[in-house]
Symmetry: C2
Subunit: 640 residues, 2 copies
């Protein structure tokens, strides 16, 4: 790598870390709560808003359903959290949905979970970054036209931080999470206090929708009403995304990792439940309407905190937390990719840790796809959300169903009630997944329904290739016999230093060396023949005719006929390759070495070697040859 | 090359032609008139119109100046044609401006001529194709919105025809030229007969511009008037472009080539003079005004021929002739590029003839640049014309000035009056070149003024590189001594067939072979060590630590330390390279061979050889090794 490039890389990503520092990059409870729970907690920034957006169709009065729907979702959250607590203890090294489903349900459910997870990690980045930037543009509407650019810059920054390594990103992101938690507690505290006890803004009070009067008022009833309430519920379920992050990442916790992870999961669920219910109650109480230019949370903050410092702090903290939520995916996506690569379902390049112990290729892939997605959806959170959460609920279902099978198999103490808990969770989340697809299908969910099977197809195809490859290269038997007649062919185009270097190399690797010259101009041939004889290099020059002016075909034909004659088992074509000093100089030379290599790529028993000759460098193969230069001898050099 | 690709190539460009068919591809006088004069003759399709476009600014009465201006241009044409007759006999193998200027005036004038010519050939294609398509859209206005697309398709077609070879393009294009000549004679004949003798449409009669009344009528006088008349003259000079084509292409004529070329030049000049004067007279007589939707020639044709078959025939013939004019550049540009490449000013790839004896790279380069130009100028002839003709007049001047020097040097019989003729021509065309730049500078000529020096810079830079290269590789002296200690290093990643192939190759080319294994996981190392000992391949396995998980760095360090130790003069790194069956499979394998090659690219005394292992193919290097397979032996294979 050129020095300048390496320096830039150092500056951005830091010095390479040795492998033995891997154990040091583990997370404490507090840091883990910041790094791994942010995805779940940050969803309060948009979940309530998504419910309100659907309910707004039903008219202002219907907005009062937001608290009820939120309460159902919180109930579901508690169920899923309890379910995942069991997974943490059963899989102390990290029990992602893929691992659990593959181990307990089989390969195909595992692949479905994997595809759903990969999709959701990408959407986590896209949705979180978009929602984070929406928090900023709510405070500064002038920035709104540049939202997409800001989203892409933020994703790029996240990528860079993650390429530097796990622990440093933990430290860098802990503070904003706790600031957000403090500000949200303050917002809810002040908001509830004023709303319930104060008289500053009297609540509208709970309203019941009377089906008869609703009908008169033009509000949809019956099926349409039910559908919209279900749709609002489905959209609100986005609050639960990220709940699985902790059980996926048990391995990243400090020891005792399972206990630490379980405690962190409980804290996370509690915080999320309070914040989500609090936001929904405040939104209903203060009759906040969703708006395309300002988020619901921003409206609440502006109202409760006024235009004070606290309001701006809340917006910044929301942005920071959502960036941190996106960061969760930057931990999870590469880790899952690495596991999949290890199992042969993803390219091997995803399996290895980079210079800084991070799974560099996974991080880069995630960032690139997420940026494309944000760009395609113009950074609009509400447009991205219908795609989101489906994959998460598919994973919840598969993971818990896997756990049920595991309890039935292992029959550990208390397996019956544990299986029951996971079973109830599996059924509940399966129902929600179906509701998600059914109610959001036309507004974007169909994309996920198309993409997940496509990903599964690709994963399976990759696995088939690796299996084929592994069979193909498998070597069973004794050591090979190593005797064969080896002929070396050196295409020459004149007596030049690169040619001399190639000839020296050729005579070093074989006794049977033949220099060949492709004739284009008979006069030039005669001159070369004469000079060659005088040069007396000990290698005979063979001239090949080229009626069609091709330089490559006569060489290929010569090599093929040598092999067919049966006197050689193996032919090496040694080509002198000039390495220019500047990239543009490549355009000025016929890439003979490259063409020769391409011509023989699928021909058996032929190896092409290029002997590099570095233009303008002091030392090179040629200098090894102890050139015995005579100043008065004539140079016979043609174009290379 | 894959079979499908080769078949398509055959279909488009025909079978390869052997070099000895080169002499057969010569042009007869009649074919040469069609192929080489079309550029000049076809300019009647737009030259008169360009004069009218400028004069229109002065008002309707000023249009009567078109005949006077055209007469001056025809005078200039006769002078230049006489001048070039002398060049043809002085340079019977083809005396392009570049050759004449370089030989008689020096390198820099030669390069100026070359740069001007290259620019003009590209503009010939762009202008002719645009004007040709304008002839069609004049007849069929519905096609106008697709003009750019039609232009690009026509250029592509021309490229294809030219890649097939010279003679076939001559035959394919002869008919439309003679049809055009016949139709133009008919148009001018009928038009003049009706205009002078008939009474069907009385001519407006010649009008004199009275400076005083002109002033009153708001017509510019004094400097502005002179400037616009000069500008109209400069634009009309576009009629003379292509005059040099015949003297450039003397070598393409059948013997006696000089006499044939001179006769063809005379015919061409005569035809052009008659057509240009005729068109201008008709335009003035019938008071045709330039229009953005219909060409002047089309208006004349529509008026004189009515809406008859003859009108459509004229439009088609104009289109065909203009395509043929563009074709002139497809003969000249690659020929000049080839000469420049031979002299070291352009990349060598332009020097060689392709399969079909055409200079393929020059043809493709011309087509691509011309298409980009047409696309950038939206196929608008009038926007392209100001860029045109400047280069041509620069070349006229340099070429004739060169001839003056030649006559003074050689003092051949009659050299005085010959030098005088060329001298007068040189001065006249130099004045015109200055007028061109001065009057058209702001309307596009500045682009040419910028681009020609840039091209000269690039040509000179290329020449410097080739000179450096030629010095650098020059070999003067006796044959090199060929004794050195050669060590071969084989990076292995398990006992697989590709690895076995690499080891067989390594032991074939040296006695000193070392297998090296980069350790990432110590457990895997132990398994491999044990299997390696059992395998007993005769090559020792060296394990290299890799604390930073890089596969390449330990290999580089090992090779460097081997060379530094002084026991080896030369190291070859033999890498097994898996060649997949499908392109996408490349993504699934770490490109170790490529990375190793890149890592050693600038390291002296190291050669990297990849031994290909073809997945899914029946025969390969490995099969030469007489594998003694034992069905019950265990396979130890890792990932490649």
């Amino acid at each position: 790598m050129p020095t300048a490039l390496r320096r830039t890389k150092r500056l951005l990503f830091g010095r390479p870390l040795p492998s033995d520092r891997l154990d040091h990059e583990k997370l404490s409870r507090k840091t883990a709560l910041a790094v791994l729970s942010s995805d779940a907690i940050s969803s309060v920034a948009y979940a309530t808003e998504q419910i309100l957006l659907v309910l707004a169709v039903l008219g202002t009065v219907a907005l009062s359903h937001v608290v009820g729907i939120s309460a159902v979702i919180v109930g579901l959250l508690v169920l899923v959290a309890l379910s995942y607590r069991q997974t943490i203890f059963a899989y102390p090294h990290g029990g992602g949905s893929y691992t659990v489903a593959r181990e307990n349900l089989g390969v195909m459910p595992g692949l479905i979970a994997a595809a759903a997870l990969l999709t959701d990690y990408i959407l986590t980045v896209a949705v979180s970054i978009s929602a984070g930037v929406a928090a900023i543009t709510s405070a500064y509407p002038a920035l709104a036209p540049h939202a997409v650019l800001v989203c892409i810059a933020a994703t790029f920054l996240l990528m860079t931080v993650n390429l530097r390594g796990v622990r440093e990103s933990g430290i860098a992101f802990s503070v904003p999470t706790y600031v957000f938690i403090a500000l949200m507690l303050l917002l809810i505290g002040v908001g509830v206090y004023r709303g319930v006890l104060g008289h500053e803004l009297a609540p509208a009070g709970p309203m019941r929708i009377d089906p008869v009067s609703a009908h008169h008022a033009g509000i949809p009833v019956g099926f349409a009403f039910t559908f919209l309430i279900l749709r609002a519920f489905a959209e609100g379920c986005v609050a639960m995304t990220g709940t699985e992050a902790i059980s996926n990442g048990v391995g990243a916790f400090k020891a005792p990792s399972a206990r630490n992870a379980a405690a962190t999961l409980s804290w996370m669920a509690a915080i999320l439940a309070v914040f989500f219910m609090g936001t929904s109650w405040l939104a209903q109480h203060y009759q906040v309407m969703p708006s395309p230019t300002e988020t619901v949370l921003s409206q609440l903050g502006r109202h409760i905190f006024g235009g004070s410092f606290l309001y701006y702090a809340l917006q910044y903290a929301t942005f920071a937390l959502l960036v941190l939520a996106a960061n969760t995916a930057f931990a999870d996506f590469p880790r899952l990719s690495s596991i999949l690569a290890h199992d042969g379902y993803m390219p091997r390049q995803f399996a290895a840790r980079g210079d800084r112990l991070a799974f560099s290729n996974g991080i880069i892939a995630l960032a690139v796809v997420a940026m494309l997605l944000v760009w395609a959806f113009r950074g609009d959170t509400s447009a991205l959300i219908p795609l989101y959460a489906i994959g998460v609920f598919v994973c919840f279902t598969l993971s818990q169903a896997g756990m049920v099978m595991k309890w039935r198999r292992t029959r550990a103490p208390g397996w019956r009630w544990r299986a029951l808990l996971n079973g109830v969770g599996a059924v509940a989340t399966a129902v929600v997944a179906i509701v998600q697809v059914a109610t959001k299908f036309t507004s974007g969910a169909w994309i996920v329904v198309v993409i997940i099977p496509l990903i599964i197809l690709v994963l399976a195809k990759i696995e088939r290739h690796y299996a084929f490859f592994s069979r193909e290269v498998q070597y069973t038997g004794h050591a090979p016999l190593m005797f064969m007649h080896h002929t070396v062919v050196v295409p020459v185009n004149g007596i030049t230093k690169p040619t001399a270097g190639a000839l020296v190399y050729a005579t070093t690797i074989s006794e049977d060396v033949r220099a060949i010259y492709v004739e284009v101009d008979p006069e030039a041939t005669q001159r070369l023949q004469a000079a060659w004889t005088e040069w007396d290099v000990g290698v005979e020059l063979t001239v090949l005719a080229s009626p069609y002016r091709s330089v490559i075909r006569p060489i290929v034909d010569y090599v093929q006929s040598t092999l067919k004659a049966g006197t050689s088992d193996l032919v090496t074509v040694v080509v002198a390759e000039v390495v220019p000093r500047h990239w543009w100089e490549h355009l000025l030379h016929n890439k003979t070495a490259l063409f020769v290599k391409t011509a023989f790529l699928f021909k058996p028993n032929v190896v092409v070697t290029s002997v590099p000759y570095l233009l303008g460098h002091a030392v090179r193969l040629g200098d090894l040859m102890h050139f015995d230069e005579l100043p008065n001898s004539e140079s016979v050099a043609q174009n290379a």
